[in-house]
Amino acid sequence: MEDVESMVEDEIVLKVEDLYKSYNNVIVLKGISFEVRRGETKIICGPSGSGKSTLLRCINLLTKPDKGMIWLEGEELTTRSININKVRQKIGFVFQEFNLFNHLTALRNVSIGLEVVKKMKREEAYKRAMEVLRKVGLEEHAHKYPAELSGGQKQRVAIARALAMNPSIILYDEPTSALDPQLIGEVLEVMKALAREKVTSIVVTHEMGFAQSVGDEMLFMYDGKIIERGPPEEVIHNPKTEIAKKFFERIQELYGREKR
């Protein structure tokens, strides 16, 4: 009995239970609960201010939640005794604004975590970084600095930087929102490829085409709560709440019906 249970438990990579967070008396998260299984791509969407980014930041403890629990591979992150830096090594984070290290080449942006945090030898780290850069199609740009790359290339380097650490899960915080429209595709392609390789991830995005093609489940957030959840197709096309319905209509007005 216990064995069966632990096997089922094993499949859950991330578990969030009844998470609360407030800033200056404004409650941003009001009891968020969900689970992410291995290989799953979880999509989170919702209007701005609904708490999506705060939720992601709570998960890798960039922000400290007020209440509630988070487990990563069975280890509780919300205890006082947790080694935050150890946890973060296992959680990749891709920022909306890329946040590449400006003074380092693409290659070193990817390798620095391996060198400094994982204490890998420099040569070994470079080799691994090069492999990952090849994967995101940026091998020939490895020696360029962030300021010499386009937005799409920057974000792909950022994805490579997260991926190189071999994380248990990758959190994407609106990864294409800061990009020019013609650069969004290349980033989504990389993310799709990773999703198909069963890299576990949570993606905060408004790219509905992406959500439908690789998303396993969609969570719709509003006012700090998850008000809808289900297969992306279902949530997008048959939302149960008026709020979600309006939101998706608005998105469709803006982006049209084409799939990415």
Partner: protein, 218 residues
């Protein structure tokens, strides 16, 4: 020996001493500046307060007074340094305090995203500061630092006050023997101007070398 032969020999002895003073003071003052700024920005309350107090104190003292305190007052509490080391210590503390303000401003100008990205990779605060923040802050502080280094080169002449036989001291002494102030002090002035020029050139080259491609305007 002609006047010039004797003078050059005198001056060279002093100049070597000046170069020794600076060779120690310049790199160590830069390190102190980085350390003080880091302590102020990232240290806990106590560390930050100590660093801020140190900077406020050193910036509030004329360098002459700092030199005299290190050389004459510290021995009273059992800390004895010879004139050379007293000067080096005073220079490092004074210049480091001033430089730390440039570095602190530079640290605070670094986008918070750099810090978040470092944290997200699992870096400790120290790793983040050493590998991500300071390399960028140092580049931004460099013009200010080079300014302070040029001051340091010029005010190293104050070491004569506690008896260090640096170039100004030897020039002054030689003048009291020969009394030819025009030749003696204008040559000395030229040497200081030369050192300041070399420093300016060196820092310009360093800035170019450290320039981040594509990021010319920051």
């Amino acid at each position: 020996m002609s006047f010039w032969e004797e003078f050059i020999a005198y001056l060279m002895r002093g100049w070597i001493m000046t170069v020794e003073l600076l060779a120690l003071s310049i790199p160590l003052s830069i390190l102190l500046g980085l350390a003080l700024a880091t302590a102020r920005v990232y240290g806990n309350k106590v560390v930050s307060l100590i660093a801020a107090g140190f900077v406020a104190l050193l910036r509030g003292l004329p360098l002459v007074v700092t030199l005299l305190i290190v050389f004459f007052a510290l021995p009273r509490i059992g800390l004895y340094f010879d004139p050379f080391w007293s000067a080096v210590i005073a220079f490092i503390m004074c210049s480091g305090a001033y430089q730390s303000e440039y570095v602190r401003a530079a640290i605070q100008s670094i986008d918070v995203g750099q810090s978040l990205a470092a944290q997200a990779l699992g870096m400790t605060k120290l790793q983040e500061v050493v590998h991500i923040i300071l390399p960028q802050a140092f580049r931004r502080a460099l013009p200010g630092i080079s300014n302070e280094i040029i001051y340091l080169i010029l005010y190293s002449s104050l070491a004569y006050i506690i008896g260090v036989q640096e170039i100004f001291a030897t020039a002054k002494h030689f003048n009291s023997l020969q009394f030819r102030p025009i030749e003696i002090f204008s040559t000395t002035a030229l040497i200081y101007a030369f050192m300041a020029t070399v420093a300016t050139f060196f820092f310009k080259k360093l800035e170019e070398r450290l320039k981040i491609p594509g990021l010319e305007i920051v």
